[in-house]
Symmetry: C2
Subunit: 205 residues, 2 copies
Amino acid sequence: MVNTVSDISTEQKILTAAREVFFQKGFSGARMQDIADEAGINKALLHYYFRSKEKLFETIFREAFEKLVPRIIEVFSSELPFFDKIRAFCEAYVTMAMENPFIPIFILNEMHRNPEGFEKTFGDIPKKVPHTLLKSVIKRAVDDGLIREIDPPQLIMNMLSLCMFPTISRPMFQLVMNMSDTQFKKMSELRKTEVADFIIQAIKK
Amino acid sequence: MVNTVSDISTEQKILTAAREVFFQKGFSGARMQDIADEAGINKALLHYYFRSKEKLFETIFREAFEKLVPRIIEVFSSELPFFDKIRAFCEAYVTMAMENPFIPIFILNEMHRNPEGFEKTFGDIPKKVPHTLLKSVIKRAVDDGLIREIDPPQLIMNMLSLCMFPTISRPMFQLVMNMSDTQFKKMSELRKTEVADFIIQAIKK
DNA sequence: GTCTATAGTTAGATAGAC
DNA sequence: GTCTATCTAACTATAGAC
């Protein structure tokens, strides 16, 4: 049977371990043995639950992707004033990036390594992102004279950059800036509000 | 002999091929066979010129890192007015990222995958980055009342984010924003000046 | 469901001829 | 310097016992 307690528990152990290993080493750097060890089980069991390394990876990747592309819809389709939408968006993304520091680099890296593979495997995901909604909300703010003339994709790119790049660049940034872990965390914590302030001042009229 | 024309040419062919393959697949995804094929030579020759995959990789990584951490010194130690420094910095970085689109994700990814390896192999590089210079130039601009109060590392992080994130996130961004290659390139071209404008407006008093 | 043992494949690296 | 052939190790995946 599939639905016994111990089955579920093993599957969960595998997923947790796979997340850990894939996030840290990427698809090609990860070894099924590493995942088995991390889960405290045997290699063969991985293949019993998930047919292949690819299948297991796809599960983890999908799940991570969904976390990365979160409920922007709620923020942007809400009745919040425009600047509060910006604030909510930034805080949500900076927080997500802080709590899941490996996800952004993991997703972006795998998309670079296997660009064509995603059109077919993940071609459905884009539809979940309300890019037309985003664009129209920004355009309206421009038309209303609330913010200066700016191309919506440019603004969206700026928001994403400021929210997600820090966790991606962390190892390099700390190295070249000679910054301790404590200092970096403090800085990240402040960014939850600073990023929105920065953006708003950059676009307000 | 080592300095014949054909020697140099072969070594260059290998380096060019290695760059191509490592940039696209990362260290663990790259195969020595791929590099040999790309260079139009035999696998054994790779080991003749560079003892191991690691050695070859280190050569490519070093070279890429130096490109990523370019002559900021010149920009920031120049006599340019502060806002022109910002403009020069942004244009240099956006251009670099456009011309070498694989380098940022390559470097940042490898640093995530092998965090400890860099302290010993690349511990010398940070010294080349004039982070104290950057910080003091920004601090002076604040003290002079030219820009609003802002933590220098925060501003540096913002500048780097806005310049480098677009090329890193390109596959995802185009996918979720439903954007063509042409549109993306046009957008990137505009960013050479837009990023600086955005930053300056965000910090000016 | 979970394990041990092993098949089958591919990778990095070397030996040795030219 | 450059090649072919080969060694050795590592990895994914499966067969089969319990």
